[in-house]
């Protein structure tokens, strides 16, 4: 294959990666909502360790184990951030609604 062919191949793989990363992020958002409902903390260190152990465990290279860990640390960072934003948004939304409901009650 020529340079261009390899680059095309990388582009196709990147497209799949973006699709997969977004699917993974959607899970994080849903998880954030559930954690909020159940009053669970956003940050769960044990679960993060599990994820890292899992992905490094199934890795057969050529990426080194540490490289996979570093890549997933960044992915986890973004998921945690997304979960936090989701919880914050929901909390603010509920607080606003609660206020809005209170006002007409007082009038009646």
């Amino acid at each position: 294959m020529e340079i261009e062919d390899w680059r095309d191949e990388i582009d196709r793989l990147d497209e799949q990666l973006v699709k997969l990363l977004n699917a993974r992020s959607q899970c994080a958002i849903e998880l954030g909502r559930l954690k909020r409902e159940l009053g669970l903390p956003i940050y769960s260190p044990d679960r993060e360790r599990e994820v890292i152990a899992h992905v490094t465990g199934i890795n057969h290279g050529p990426l080194e184990r540490d490289a996979v860990r570093r890549l997933f640390e960044r992915i986890i960072d973004e998921s945690r951030s997304l979960e936090r934003a989701t919880v914050e948004k929901e909390t603010n939304f509920r607080a606003k609604n609660a206020k809005a409901r209170k006002v007409p009650k007082k009038r009646s």
Partner: protein, 346 residues
């Protein structure tokens, strides 16, 4: 904020730090290195970084952003210009603020206002309430002094800057002055800073004799966070181990203030040096270093001055200094207003 973990930090310790930061509302960028784990905390929450530094396993905490927001250069990259009547502080012109240390009499302040305005000054300075080191020194004329300043300034088309010492004086000051000065000793009088922060009047904030640049900008932040964004920072010398002059003028603070903050900077070589023969060279250096204004004491009879006569320039010294400052300003792409005679020649 960047947190560097100890080489020996356990995974539990790293988790505890992440947990604390997430609870505080930060997003974390974790990077596990060969020796050290580094955590980047992203977010604009203001916290006491020592709380993080004291956690087990933390080697050091590096602050990336300044603790002040409104005063920082990034808040207003183009720089602040303060317009008062037809005077702009923070523009191309280096504005001269000059006058006696203390208002002693109506005649004195009238005579000095005439001298400074004839030489291109735009603002008349003068103390009416004096924060003297000794309670037995002359304490100022009070409201009478403010009245004389206003009259003299109006007659010669000048603005007035004078020091307000406590919140109770504010109603009086806003009737007479155009710029409120906060003295060096009051730089961390947070109550006074908040009070002048509620006004719609520019504030000239003097750096305390033992204040760092960051502390000075945090003092400005107090004024600004109360609503008043028109703050001028004044470098007036700091206390060092050198006893020859009253203070050591911190020339390098000028470009540092200009880099970290968008606020205009004024230099006060009179208080910095405390000796009139040392005032002109420091004033010239300050203009070369990029100040937006100068605050200089001028007296028509310094031998008999009631306050700080030794650091006041004589009228002819002031005239010579202004002439030199015009040349220096031109060399650094700024300008100093012409005196009456130069203006007439043009």
């Amino acid at each position: 904020m960047v947190i560097v973990m100890d080489e020996t930090a356990t995974e539990e310790q790293v988790s505890a730090v992440i947990d604390k930061l997430v609870r505080l509302g930060f997003d974390i960028h974790r990077s596990t290195g060969v020796r050290h784990t580094v955590l980047g905390a992203v977010g604009d929450r203001v916290i006491d970084w020592r709380d993080i530094e004291l956690l087990a396993g933390v080697k050091e905490v590096l602050r990336v952003t300044a603790p002040y927001k409104l005063a920082s250069r990034s808040f207003k990259p183009e720089g602040t210009q303060i317009k008062i009547k037809d005077v702009v502080i923070g523009g191309r012109e280096v504005v001269m603020m000059a006058g006696p240390c203390t208002v002693e009499s109506r005649d004195q302040v009238m005579a000095i206002a005439e001298i400074v305005s004839r030489n291109g000054a735009k603002v008349l300075r003068g103390g009416a309430f004096k924060p003297r080191t000794s309670p037995y020194s002359f304490q100022g004329l009070g409201e009478e002094g403010l009245k004389y300043l206003r009259q003299a300034a109006d007659r010669h088309g000048l603005l007035v800057v004078s020091e307000v010492m406590e919140p109770s004086q504010i109603p009086l000051f806003i009737r007479y002055v155009d710029i409120l000065q906060i003295g060096a000793r009051n730089m961390q009088n947070f109550n006074l800073l908040r009070e002048v922060g509620r006004l719609n009047k520019p504030v000239l904030l003097k750096r305390g004799p033992a204040a760092t640049i960051e502390e000075t900008l945090l003092a400005a932040e107090y004024v600004m966070s109360s609503g008043n964004h028109e703050v001028i920072i004044c470098e007036r010398g700091i206390r060092t181990f050198e006893p020859y002059l009253r203070n050591t003028f911190d020339i390098s603070a000028i470009p540092v203030f200009k880099k970290f903050s968008h606020l205009p900077v004024v230099a006060d070589p009179s208080h910095a040096t405390g000796r009139r023969d040392k005032v002109p060279p420091v004033a010239q250096a300050a203009v070369a270093a990029g100040v937006d204004a100068l605050l200089i004491e001028v007296h028509n009879d310094p031998e008999n001055a009631l306050c700080d006569g030794a650091q006041s320039l004589l009228p002819d010294q002031f005239e010579r200094l202004m002439h030199r400052l015009r040349l220096i300003a031109k060399a650094v792409d700024r300008e100093v207003a012409p005196g009456v005679e130069e203006a007439a020649l043009k």
